[in-house]
């Protein structure tokens, strides 16, 4: 029995990891926490709220008590002794009941903290789909079609990117490297991918994979940044433009 309890405890983080709760809005509670949730609803929710976020009594998820509690050691004594000065009665619950309530509160708190720090991967697409796809198409035809095609480079775009990625790429796509042509002081021409440029130096990688670096002041360097157009667009986008384009491009499955 002791062994069993220990192994469950050791497994707990692994289970959480496997479920990857860090980037989801909907979380499965462990069995113990689910039992604790039920117990909490019956005994505590009337004052502390059904989600333990507080009602007539304080929010427990953001409480000092919970932060310092280990497996119910502090919560248990508050439940059993009450807080008469603050009007909280005592509740005579068993050790397993208290442990389950503590597990529920700790899991809620850890989920709250993780949701607070990440974009959830299961974020409902419907929340993002507030734009008008036909307005998006009109914008695309007018402003984007000179460089992009929905049957060419952008075909099946919505299948390639998750909704958040697609929306941020509409705002500004990353990962596209500029190309560069350099004419050195002997008149020799070099072409390749730009790999470094500051105010002093410029470097390219040529088609054979060699890196070349020059002092900027000694050569003529023409940088072609395919994202220059996107920088201009970014400054003019309205939120409606972004949402309309998203609604349109999301149809390109």
């Amino acid at each position: 029995m002791q062994f069993f309890r220990t192994s469950v405890l050791l497994l707990l983080p692994a289970i959480l990891l496997a479920q990857d709760p860090d980037d989801k809005t909907q979380h499965e509670l462990t069995a113990s926490a689910q039992a604790g949730k039920k117990e909490f609803q019956q005994t505590c929710a009337f004052c502390h709220g059904p989600d333990a976020r507080g009602a007539s009594a304080p929010d427990l998820i953001r409480s000092s008590l919970l932060s310092h509690d280990v497996q119910g050691d502090l919560i248990g004594s508050v439940i059993r002794n009450g807080r008469p000065a603050k009007g909280m009665p005592s509740f005579q619950l068993s050790d397993p009941q208290i442990r389950a309530i503590a597990d529920f509160l700790h899991e809620e708190a850890s989920i709250a903290a993780s949701v607070s720090q990440k974009i959830p991967s299961d974020y409902p697409l419907q929340k993002l789909l507030v734009g008008n796809a036909s307005d998006g198409k009109a914008y695309f035809d007018a402003r984007c079609a000179s460089c992009h095609s929905t049957t060419g480079d952008l075909a099946h775009l919505a299948s390639k990117y998750k909704p958040f990625d697609l929306q941020t790429r509409i705002a500004f796509p990353s990962g596209v490297k500029p190309s560069i042509t350099v004419k050195d002081n002997r008149g020799e021409l070099f072409e390749g991918e730009l790999i470094y440029a500051d105010e002093f130096l410029v470097s390219l990688r040529d088609k054979d994979g060699w890196r070349h670096t020059w002092k900027r002041s000694t050569v003529k360097a023409d940088i072609h940044d395919p994202l220059a157009g996107h920088e201009k667009l970014l400054k003019t986008y309205t939120d409606k433009n972004v949402h309309d384009l998203f609604a349109y491009l999301e149809t390109l499955k």
Binding site: T25, D51, R53, G54, P58, D59, I61, R62, S64, S67, H68, A112, A113, V115, S116, Q117, K118, I119, P120, Y123, K127, L128, L129, V130, G131, F164, Q167, T168, A171, F172, S174, Y196, D198, E199, F200, E231, L234, K235, Y237, T238, D239, V242, H243
Partner: protein
């Protein structure tokens, strides 16, 4: 007569003073200018600047050097989250190294120590304030700033004002409660505490909803060192954003004293005035940026000014006696505000609040600037600020009761500049392109008419203070995040800057200095 005339002509001279050769506090002095009167390194000779020594922390994990070194009596003191070093400023040799025990606080950065009569004050990641013996690094006392279990941490360099050690705290994910604490430098006893969230009797409490616990969890961290005017006996401090960060639905109102600049009496912690750069912020744009104190002309009148280039992209020039705004104007591009109200506080366009479908906002959550130290040069009358023109898509998830961030921002684009801003108009006189992305270096200006900073690539730069032209540079091997300082020892001026785990000391060649001797 000449000296008097100079004092009258030049802005920013608080009192007649001899050029400081040391750097005894976070900003070099109480004013927050990060301006040095040293002139040995100047526009003509800066091209000869060379490496004197480099100090390796040998700490290869964590955030690297983000601290401003102090220089006191020939010794440098600087930090990383669990470490303090004392290094001989002439040789770069380690004098001692203090390492704090393993702890669970957030190791996001450490910005330096405070100094008082042979003692150092160091904030730990788990929100303790330690007093160390400056001779040995031995701990003299250890006081708790805040409860790490609740999600607090600490990074800032304490500010020592007479017999007060002022310490702020950090924490963003857990809806905490910001304070400034004042400790006795010798005993570590708490002298006073100022709460960034008003007590019930304070009329400012009405800027929060009644009948909920929003105000108790309302944020207002105090994570950048303030400035001090000895004549007025007022300390000036910026406070951070309200919580939940990106979803303001449970905290309608201006949410004082978050995103505010406050003036406090350092002996009592009593509030003299406040000004709020971002009422009801929902973009994580705290107002902790250094409140720079300048005594200078403002539209024909000599005034005691406070200047802040705030994270929300606005420059604020306040009368620091009264807290009244004299100028509120954008210094970097932004799209979230429709202008300012009668108090000079920006009016947010609520259509640019975070939303479930995403809102495109300029600047991003990192802001138009952040913790990088600005510098004010009294000779040019320019405020030098490391700025970002940037965009984010801001999401407020809108599920249940918002907690912590209550959403997220996804930064999509950023470009860095060093801007030289005229403080009477907010106009940029010149800007220097620092590259695509985010710079974090901070700025130093000197009477040699130089500005020192760094670019996104890892170059350390010396610029002409009047024009922004690059006069010297060297590649540091990584972006410099430890702000530049300068000091003079044995008649030689040093410039220090740190990148990753290395602190570099630069000076003019000794052979050149011998020829410069009269």
């Amino acid at each position: 007569m000449t000296r008097m005339a100079l004092a009258v002509l030049s802005v920013g001279v608080v009192a007649a003073q001899i050029a400081r050769t040391d750097w005894p506090t976070y900003n070099g002095d109480f004013s927050g200018k990060r301006y040095s009167q040293l002139t040995q390194i100047d526009r003509k000779n800066v091209a000869m600047l060379g490496l004197v020594w480099a100090f390796q922390t040998d700490v290869n994990t964590g955030p690297g050097l983000k601290s401003t070194p102090l220089l006191v009596d020939g010794t440098l003191y600087f930090t990383e989250p669990d470490d303090v070093w004392a290094v001989d400023a002439r040789s770069g040799q380690q004098n001692w190294h203090y390492h704090y025990h393993a702890n669970e606080g957030l190791h996001i950065g450490q910005r330096g120590v405070g100094y008082y009569k042979g003692r150092l004050y160091f904030e730990t990641p788990d929100a303790h304030l330690l007093c160390l013996d400056a001779r040995t690094g031995e701990v003299q006392w250890d006081s708790v700033l805040a409860d790490v279990k609740l999600g607090y941490w600490a990074t800032m360099a304490p500010l020592v004002i007479r017999n007060h050690v002022l310490a702020g705290i950090s924490g963003d994910f857990n809806d905490l409660h910001g304070v400034i604490d004042s400790f006795d430098p010798e005993t570590g006893k708490l002298q006073w505490q100022w709460s960034a969230l008003p007590l019930p009797a304070d009329p400012a409490a009405r800027t929060w909803p009644a009948d909920t616990d929003a105000i108790q969890h309302g944020g207002g961290m105090t994570w950048i060192t303030g400035t001090y005017d000895p004549e007025l006996n007022l300390v000036y401090w910026g406070t951070a954003n309200p919580n939940p960060v990106l979803d303001g639905s449970t905290r309608p109102g201006a949410n004082l004293y978050t995103c505010s600049i406050v003036a406090l009496n350092p002996d009592t912690g009593k509030l003299a005035w406040y000004f709020q750069p971002s009422p009801h912020d929902v973009h994580d744009w705290d107002a902790v940026q250094t409140p720079v104190l300048v005594d200078g002309d403002f539209r024909g009148q000599k005034r005691k000014l406070l200047i802040q280039a705030s994270r929300n992209g606005y420059l604020f020039v306040l009368d620091r006696v009264s807290g009244k705004a004299l100028l509120s104007t954008p210094y970097e591009e932004s799209n979230w505000s429709s202008g300012v109200d009668q108090q000079g506080e920006p009016v947010a366009n609520r259509e640019k609040d975070p939303s479930p479908a995403g809102t495109l906002v300029e600047p991003d959550a990192i802001g138009a600037t952040n913790w990088m130290s600005p510098s004010f040069d009294p000779q040019t009358g320019l405020l030098y600020v490391d700025t970002h023109d940037s965009f984010s898509l801001y999401y407020a998830f809108g599920d249940g009761k918002p907690e912590g961030f209550g959403g997220r921002d996804l930064s999509v684009w950023s470009h860095g500049y060093l801007r030289a801003i005229e403080y009477q108009t907010g106009k940029t006189r010149w800007s220097h392109d620092l590259g695509s992305g985010w710079t974090w270096t901070g700025v130093l200006s000197t009477a040699g008419r130089l500005v020192f900073t760094g670019d996104v690539h890892g170059n350390i730069l010396a610029l002409d203070a009047n024009t922004g032209k690059t006069l010297w540079h060297t590649f540091a091997g990584g972006q410099a995040e430890a702000p530049p300082i300068t000091y003079e020892l044995d008649g030689r001026q040093y410039v220090l800057m740190g990148a990753h785990g290395v602190l570099f000391a630069f000076a003019l060649p000794e052979v050149l200095l011998e020829n410069l001797q009269p």
